[in-house]
């Protein structure tokens, strides 16, 4: 007799994350933010409060499941939670503007200070507390996704993007030193999120396809990512923006369970190259489709990605704040039609 599995959001997501048994339909999840102005209005919770208050963070994140019907809840909306804890001055923005680090306090190795009580810092604590709150309400049936910045992104925060990129040529030892020190922040925060209740943690590390070469990734980050994955222990998803078609195998080598990718990377090609050795999560186009298109456009792309063989359907990156709810819901509608 054929086994029948109840297709709950959490089961669907976990099955997709590990490339396992297929239920009736593909999982829809969000490794990065799906908060929009419309969603803020519907919940009555707005940026910047949702970055700084755990109850508000949890309430806004839950809207992804409650209102949009996604299988996951992901409470970290910005990329700056660690930045403030590490000493950057952060402008937390507004309902229409994401937060931004205004200062980059470490131009030299000896200026790099990592607080011992990292997980007690307010901007870190808020995420952990939000995950704890969400676990209590949704932990039994919805996938909870955590998110941390990788050491490359943290180095941008600490040194400035241009300075850090230039060092890859002028001072590679300094780059290695920064990555070596800052990976401890990534590992500590990721472990704490898993302990707080996350089923998986997204590691966002912006060595993007448009900024650096595959060789730069291979030389500097690959060994660091391998160590991060070994030491975290729990499930991880890599998020790197841009066209990374030329380095997908390196991400497999790094040992991530999934890669969250953009529409610029052709889905069919990615599925073939990755060969089920890592799950693929994506890749609905934010700019032209989720933000600029209609629900029909979203439907078409979602069906293309499902048929090409992605493991979990998702927007390609944090969605623009003006994205219409109808377009986000259209992803779920396309998934509900099943596999083919």
């Amino acid at each position: 007799m054929k086994a029948i599995h109840v297709s709950s959001p959490k089961r669907r997501f976990l099955s997709g994350l590990f490339g396992g048994r297929r239920g009736g339909r593909i999982s829809v999840a969000n490794p990065t933010s799906i908060v929009s102005i419309e969603l803020m209005e519907r919940t009555g919770v707005f940026f910047p409060d949702a970055h700084l208050d755990p109850d508000k963070m949890a309430a806004l994140a839950a809207a992804g499941y409650e209102i949009l019907g996604f299988d996951s809840i992901m409470p970290e909306f910005s990329v700056q939670q660690e930045a403030e804890a590490l000493g950057c001055v952060v402008d937390w923005g507004s309902p229409t503007m994401m937060p931004d680090a205004k200062t980059h306090p470490a131009k030299e190795i000896d200026q790099l200070e990592i607080p011992e009580n990292l997980t007690e810092k307010p901007s870190i604590r808020v995420v952990l507390r939000a995950l704890e709150l969400l676990r209590k309400i949704y932990g039994d049936h919805v996938a909870l996704i955590g998110k941390v910045m990788g050491p490359w992104t943290l180095s941008y925060h600490m040194a400035g993007v241009q300075e850090f990129l230039l060092w890859t040529l002028t001072d590679p030892d300094k780059v290695r030193h920064f990555l070596g020190r800052l990976k401890e922040v990534t590992i500590t925060f990721a472990k704490a999120q898993l302990q707080a209740g996350a089923d998986v943690v997204v590691i966002a590390d912006h060595a993007t396809g448009d900024l650096v070469s595959p060789k730069t990734y291979q030389d500097f980050l690959l060994p660091v990512h391998q160590e991060i994955n070994q030491r975290i222990g729990g499930p991880t998803i890599l998020h790197i923006c841009g066209n990374c078609s030329d380095r997908l195998r390196l991400f497999v080598e790094a040992g991530f369970d999934g890669y969250h990718f953009e529409w610029q990377i052709d889905t069919k090609m990615a599925v073939e190259v990755v060969n089920h050795e890592m799950s693929l999560i994506g890749n609905i186009d934010n700019k032209n489709v989720l933000f600029g298109g209609t629900p029909e456009d979203v439907y078409k792309q979602a069906r293309y990605s499902i048929e090409a063989g992605v493991d979990i359907l998702a927007p390609e990156c944090a969605v623009p704040l003006q994205t219409p709810i109808a377009n986000l819901k259209a992803i779920v509608e396309a998934a509900k039609e099943g596999y083919s």
Partner: protein
């Protein structure tokens, strides 16, 4: 300058050691080569090759940042040697900024470096720049070209209002060109921009074309 000599400048721009470009520029000054020739035929020509390599995806952003750093050092050494009346002779003034609500500046900075490298005087207004700020600088500086940058789909919409405002006061000049990850030629046409640069090199080519077209006033 012959090909061999340009190649020496090209190598100096790629060198991680600043001394390479310093020594080379000093060597040419000592040889009594005209500083204008060192600038235009040496440094700017070599930067053009780097730009082409970037456009062809043979190199990435760190290499461009390095070349720009080295080039700026070369120009610094050259500056005291330039004849006084020639000191500020540039292809034209280029005002650039990332539009209101957007704080991303890597793309804008790459364009700034390439445009400077191509011989323009650049006035960089930074990020989160309002239409009022653009108008004020246009009134003061009378640039030939204004470049608007945005990384976000939402902030690129800001460009439309800025172009409209500029056109109300200045119907023909400056030319307004736009760029940034979400921007397309179609969008540029829709909002009435004079041009769209897909990357920093194409932005330079576009600026050259617009100013050469003789429509500048």
């Amino acid at each position: 300058m012959n090909e061999e000599e340009i190649k020496r400048f090209y190598k100096a721009l790629k060198d991680t050691n600043l001394a390479a470009v310093e020594d080379l520029v000093k060597e040419y000054i000592a040889k009594q080569i005209s500083p204008i020739a060192i600038l235009n035929e040496g440094l700017i020509e070599a930067m053009g090759i780097i730009g082409q390599e970037f456009k062809a995806c043979q190199i990435w952003v760190p290499e461009v940042l390095l070349a720009a750093r080295n080039m700026n050092r070369g120009i610094e050494i050259l500056k005291p040697e330039l004849p006084k009346k020639n000191k500020l002779e540039t292809k034209g003034k280029f005002v650039i900024g990332t539009v209101k609500g957007d704080i991303h500046d890597i793309g804008k900075n790459l364009v700034t470096m390439m445009i400077m490298g191509a011989g323009y005087q650049v006035i960089d207004l930074g990020t989160d720049v309002s239409k009022e700020q653009f108008l004020e600088v246009i009134a003061q500086e009378h640039p030939g070209i204004v470049g608007l940058s945005a990384l976000l789909t939402t902030t690129m919409l800001e460009m439309k209002g800025i172009i409209k405002t500029i056109r109300q006061t200045y119907p023909h000049s400056p030319k307004v060109i736009i760029g940034g990850a979400p921007v397309t030629q179609r969008f540029a046409d829709e909002i009435g921009a004079d041009g769209y640069g897909e990357d920093a090199v194409r932005a330079v080519e576009l600026a050259n074309r617009l100013l050469a077209s003789g429509e500048r006033r």
